[in-house]
């Protein structure tokens, strides 16, 4: 992203479930000047909620001493959102990405988090290491692809 025209924010907060709503509002408020319609803004709030919830439930297994980090950047072309934890990591990423796959059915998890992130964003990448943590990088384009091809 072009340096001069880029805006950024980084957010670090306690891995407590009551901060999930705060995280969504903070990201939405940061992006409020962008030409996103209401549905696109809702999609972004949803994927933030998915990744933050995963960090809290799976990454830290609800240990509130953990911290979740969100970094967001934008310029005129795209929004990039990175959500990280220093939790347990994911053993099998391919399996984790499958729709309906969950390791916590006893918590009534739906196993749809990664599927939603993939569908609502243009890019969704998972970087993870056992015992070190997980990093989800997502991008939403602001410009239609056809326009970039001109």
């Amino acid at each position: 992203m072009e340096k001069g025209k880029m805006n950024f924010m980084e957010l670090n907060f306690a891995a407590r479930s009551e901060n999930e709503g705060f995280a969504r509002i903070a990201v939405a408020a940061f992006l409020s000047r962008l030409p996103l319609n209401l549905d696109e803004m809702e999609e972004i709030k949803t994927v933030v909620s998915e990744a933050v919830t995963n960090a809290i439930i799976h990454g830290y297994e609800e240990d509130e001493q953990g911290a979740v980090m969100i970094s967001t950047f934008y310029d005129q072309y795209a929004v990039e959102i990175v959500i990280e934890d220093h939790g347990i990591g994911i053993a099998d990423v391919e399996e984790a990405r499958q729709p309906l796959f969950t390791t916590k059915p006893e918590l009534e998890r739906s196993g749809m988090g990664f599927t939603i992130m993939e569908n609502f964003m243009d890019v969704m990448e998972i970087t993870t290491e056992i015992g070190r943590g997980t990093r989800i990088r997502m991008v939403k384009n602001l410009v239609k692809n056809e326009m970039l091809c001109n």
Partner: protein, 116 residues
């Protein structure tokens, strides 16, 4: 950042109206309230109205699927109504529409359940 759960019984139908945001943090409240109501009363069907639900993520799908299993195990049915476009896509992606009926309004849903 909070959820209000409003429950009303009409005959053997439990109408559950959600107002606010349904995420991991608030889904626990919904689960325990609905679970209790289904277990302790002779409710047969559930009508879930999402008209005033402004936000939902996959934690919501999980708690809804859990209550669907609970009510169908008792021979009942679940209908969801008044879903906004983004939440609609969550249901679609998860395949929940293959098992849970969806209607535009409470009236239509009650009609299907044989009331009004």
């Amino acid at each position: 950042m909070s959820l209000r759960v409003d429950m009303e019984a009409i005959g053997d139908i439990l109408i559950v109206r959600l107002d606010g945001e349904l995420d991991h943090h608030t889904s626990e409240v919904l689960r325990s309230q609905m679970e209790g109501q289904i277990n302790d009363t002779d409710v047969r069907h559930v009508l879930l109205s999402l008209k005033n639900l402004h936000f939902m993520d996959s934690s919501g799908l999980g708690v809804i699927l859990g209550r669907y299993k609970q009510i169908t195990a008792r021979g009942g049915d679940m209908i969801v109504c008044s879903i906004n476009p983004v939440i609609y896509r969550l249901f679609e992606l998860s395949g929940l529409f293959k098992i849970i009926k969806v209607k535009d309004s409470e009236e239509e849903a009650l009609h299907i359940l044989g009331v009004a």
